[in-house]
Amino acid sequence: MTFIRSWFEWVNEFPSSVALRESLYGYPALLTAHVVTMCLFAGLIVMMDLRLVGIAYTETPVSQVQKRLFPWQMLGMALSSITGLLLFYGQPMRFYFKVFFWVKMVLMGLAGVNALAFHYSTYRSVASWDSDVKGPLGARVAGALSIALWTGVIVFGRLVAYDYMTYK
């Protein structure tokens, strides 16, 4: 962790990081933008996951939901990543000591792995189960896992704002 810590401390001293940290409206504006862009990203991810699990939009083939929502999910991911990185950039040493920040990062990584694993395994055969209300087990598990992991990301992301489990 010493390498990560020294890297965070280095960023922490950038004049632009200090300026962001000390600006009156920088943090509220970025945090608000992070919530709004999260709605676009996580909202559409969850809607797609509900289709995978087989409990929503069941009249629409899975591949249609995936293809048609993908550009908007990616836009949401880009915007929430930019606002999230800027939030981090302004106060790296605030987040370094927070266990929940690291838990959120790990859960985000796992959610990414889950999405890629699904895409390169079960989803390859989508043509044969595209219109089924409930797809194969692999699709339902990937959908449920995605909902659970992104829920965790949102829960721990919100809890980072409190002082629980902050170790200085």
Partner: protein, 158 residues
């Protein structure tokens, strides 16, 4: 005029319990955010479709019907987790211009969503011109984004 009502809410026994618990308040905040995610997802499925993107191979009415339970469920979740936050911090809310701004836009957004937007999403194919569909979608997104921004600023700038 409403101040005594907000003070009364804040002085309720349940408000004290909410304020003094180390985890109830944050827990309710977290659930409010999760309910928002579901609500926003269901809202956007239909608004994107009205804009001519999203699930374009499905009729608007079908997408709206599928999204409906998640939209209503998300809103019920938002209300159930919003009300405890309101009563436990009554006077803070009363003196926050963002709270009143949020409530005004929320009232507008609810009326719009359950009248005009509902009518447009349930109308037979071709009865609503593409321009009107897009206008309705943009108004919907704008109203609900404003509610979200106002809500977040109650906590950050009040």
């Amino acid at each position: 005029m409403l101040l005594p009502f907000f003070e009364w809410m804040q002085d309720l026994a349940i408000s004290g319990v909410l304020r003094n618990s180390p985890w109830l308040g944050p827990g309710i905040n977290v659930m409010h955010l999760l309910a928002l995610t579901v609500f926003a997802g269901a809202l956007l499925m239909v608004d994107l479709r009205l804009l001519g993107t999203g699930l374009t191979r499905q009729p608007v009415a079908r997408v709206a019907r599928a999204a409906q339970p998640w939209l209503i469920g998300g809103f019920i979740g938002l209300a159930l987790t919003g009300i405890p936050q309101l009563i436990s911090t009554g006077t803070k809310q009363y003196y926050s211009e963002f709270f009143w701004g949020k409530m005004e836009i929320l009232a507008l957004a609810l009326i719009f969503t359950f009248t005009l937007r509902r009518w447009v999403t349930q109308a037979d194919e071709g009865r609503v011109g593409p321009v009107w569909s897009k206008v309705v979608a943009l108004v919907s997104i704008t109203l609900w984004t404003t509610v979200t921004v106002g809500a977040r600023l109650i906590g950050l700038l009040s």
